[in-house]
Subunit: 399 residues, 2 copies
């Protein structure tokens, strides 16, 4: 398989994409309105929150993705435009139209995303003024990653390049999200641009498959937001021969896209509210991948496991109990390692150096590996520890 490499870049790195950001006075002084623009209409694929209380922009973007083509994404932070009724839906549509008018696009080719407080209406005068300041030039592409943050601590970006059929293809991603940073703010947004030439149905199929093992495998606090959105724009400007499902080039592209998604998923987990550590849980020896992923996600989402990791406590009892809670079969032969140290064999405790392992658990990255010995399928999930800061963030910053 062709090698692909990480590059220093941003969401505007793929050919034909620009991005800009501005301060629309939704937040205090910070960038809060961002745009991604493609020179030409692009194939668009998307996946959205399963929350039945979907925000207005989510409903609108589902229509855009159904159309198969998009040329721009406009995103505001501070206000989620969720639980805002008909007024909220009209505001989302108005935002879409304002951006389309400004850059001469079809309104149906503009995706609209919001993240922030639930239940508040967008101040459309400020949105309009903000949009009027956005430029199609590559003025502030790096600013986009800032503009979509709520109170995430770090910007989250990644870019990769790969040769496909003699052409250089770039895939770039940007995302935000870390739980409920500010009350009522819970959205995960991820945007991916690429200049690859790929048909929209194949792009959607690929994204939907990749999501299952990347973004859907992270958890910060077990809550699914009303606004979660992942969008991919592929504008074909790399001029590679159109990717054919199953071909080597397609599989290479899929690996790159999966790597971009996984990198962003881990960035979000590591920046979870109040988090001090990224926790990775890998389950092997499962009869099927779905079960492996489900068990891995349950372990990494357990409050008891999360607090133990915060306390650097190699508390394997909590891990095996978490497995037992959700395993759809008996688990008499679990082999468990924490930070590489074996703590459980044949589902029975083994001697290990508690103090030494506790030291290893003070590292920023924690790895838990559970071999169920019930098959040969694997699954991985990512999360973070549960800390005093998480409680502070969510209890003391009032809505």
């Amino acid at each position: 398989m062709t090698k692909f490499k990480q590059i220093t870049g941003n969401i505007a790195s793929p050919k034909g994409f620009t991005a800009d950001a501005t301060h629309a006075e939704l937040k205090f002084q910070k960038l809060d309105l961002g745009m991604i623009l493609s020179q030409v209409p692009a194939a668009v694929a998307g996946v959205f929150t399963t929350n039945k209380v979907a925000a207005a922009p989510v409903i609108l973007d589902k229509e855009v993705v159904a159309g198969g083509v998009a040329q721009a994404i406009i995103t505001n932070s501070a206000i989620a435009n969720a639980v805002t009724g008909e007024v909220g839906m009209n505001n989302a549509k108005k935002t879409q139209r304002l951006l389309a008018d400004k850059f001469g696009l079809a309104p149906g080719h503009v995706a609209v995303c919001s993240t922030g407080v639930i239940g508040r209406q967008l101040p459309m005068d400020k949105i309009a003024l903000g949009i009027s300041k956005l430029s199609a030039e590559n003025g502030h592409a790096a600013g986009f990653a800032q503009a979509i943050l709520t109170t995430d601590l770090v910007e989250k970006e990644v870019a990769y390049q790969v040769e496909l059929g003699g052409q250089t293809v770039t895939v770039a991603g940007v995302c935000k999200g870390s739980g409920m940073i500010h009350p009522n703010m819970a959205t995960m947004l991820a945007f991916i641009t690429t200049d690859v030439n790929i048909a929209q149905p194949l792009l959607q199929e690929t994204l939907s498959e990749i999501i299952e093992t990347t973004f859907n495998q992270i958890t910060v606090d077990g809550d699914t937001s009303t606004n979660d959105t992942v969008l991919v724009l592929a504008n074909g400007m790399a001029e590679n021969a159109e990717l054919i499902a199953g071909s080597e080039d397609y599989l290479t592209f899929k690996s790159v896209l999966a790597t971009v998604c996984q990198t962003m998923a881990k960035q979000i987990a590591a920046d979870g509210e109040g988090a001090t550590k990224l926790i990775e849980v890998t389950v092997t020896g499962a009869p099927d991948e779905l079960t492996a992923r489900m068990i891995a996600k349950h372990i990494v989402g357990s409050s008891l496991v999360k607090t133990a990791i915060f306390g650097a406590d190699p508390n394997w009892g909590r891990v095996i109990s978490a497995i037992g809670q959700v395993a759809p079969f008996e688990v008499p032969d679990i082999e468990l390692t924490i930070q590489g140290d074996l703590v459980l064999l044949h589902s029975t405790a083994v001697d290990f150096d508690q103090a030494e392992l506790s030291e290893k658990l003070k590292e920023k990255n924690v790895l838990i590996e559970a071999d169920l010995n019930q098959g040969d399928k694997t699954g991985t999930a990512w999360g973070c520890d549960l800390t005093y800061k998480y409680v502070e963030i969510n209890a003391l910053y009032h809505s």
Copy 2:
């Protein structure tokens, strides 16, 4: 329906039951071994953890319940006898035999329960010495509620009386559990004694039904222990005519048993790790009871709702988002009240006095009521707030 009344009593209040407790040196100075004894063999019903990593005593007690008859329950705290392999199972059986020998019972009529650290073996010499000190006299019945605690803060007991067919029937309950008080301790144990005359199959059927709306509707941290056990002993010594399914007397008894279970469930939720408040969530207007209960339990289990209540924040966005996450249908017409104050109508925010409601949320009991307006079925769940103390308890007290 006949009225029933709460009485001051304990697990030994029903006719023909005694209880005792002793210090078997499993814990430091505290009572740690307790026994409930019936003068005559009693009908026994039980429900157990769904955790696939079931502790040895759980496996043993399932056999006892399958036999339909029990005369005693022996319970230790400090050590869960879970993930202890064949040695652990032999220790559970030895405990059963020691108690049977001491009081002249059939070993198969003795239920054995443990709660405490996972992965450690019971010191059988201490257990044997402890059992030798237990008495069939009603020496320390009140001590039983202490002996089964791990680091729960309060003892949890309740007793009710009712007239059935001219006879006074007493139903008493005792329980423990509040999450992971001490690392690896997570067990919920609940024992109910009654002198009612009822056939075992009907007793089991009644218990299994009641569990769904009581113990299964509480959550402290979303984790299911390896040892959870609820046992009911009914020895018939009240000499009422045997209860017939569907009769008025049966329905009255069922109400009493449900009240006893619900009272204990709320006691456990209120004593959740680090909890400062009991949260009750009632969902009405659901198309079926299962959905109502599921949504109520999801709301009360949401970390974001739990932290908001800790912070006395009337954060309705988190409640409606929690509903949207698990509702199997659209929810355009939610009516939401918090502490009796209306905050949402037709799924749209209404004006309310934020400061006044925040004051009300400082009370020890918090009530959230959500009317989905999608039917006429209801469900209730209980939980507690998520606090700094929870994180401290679970992060800093090492395994």
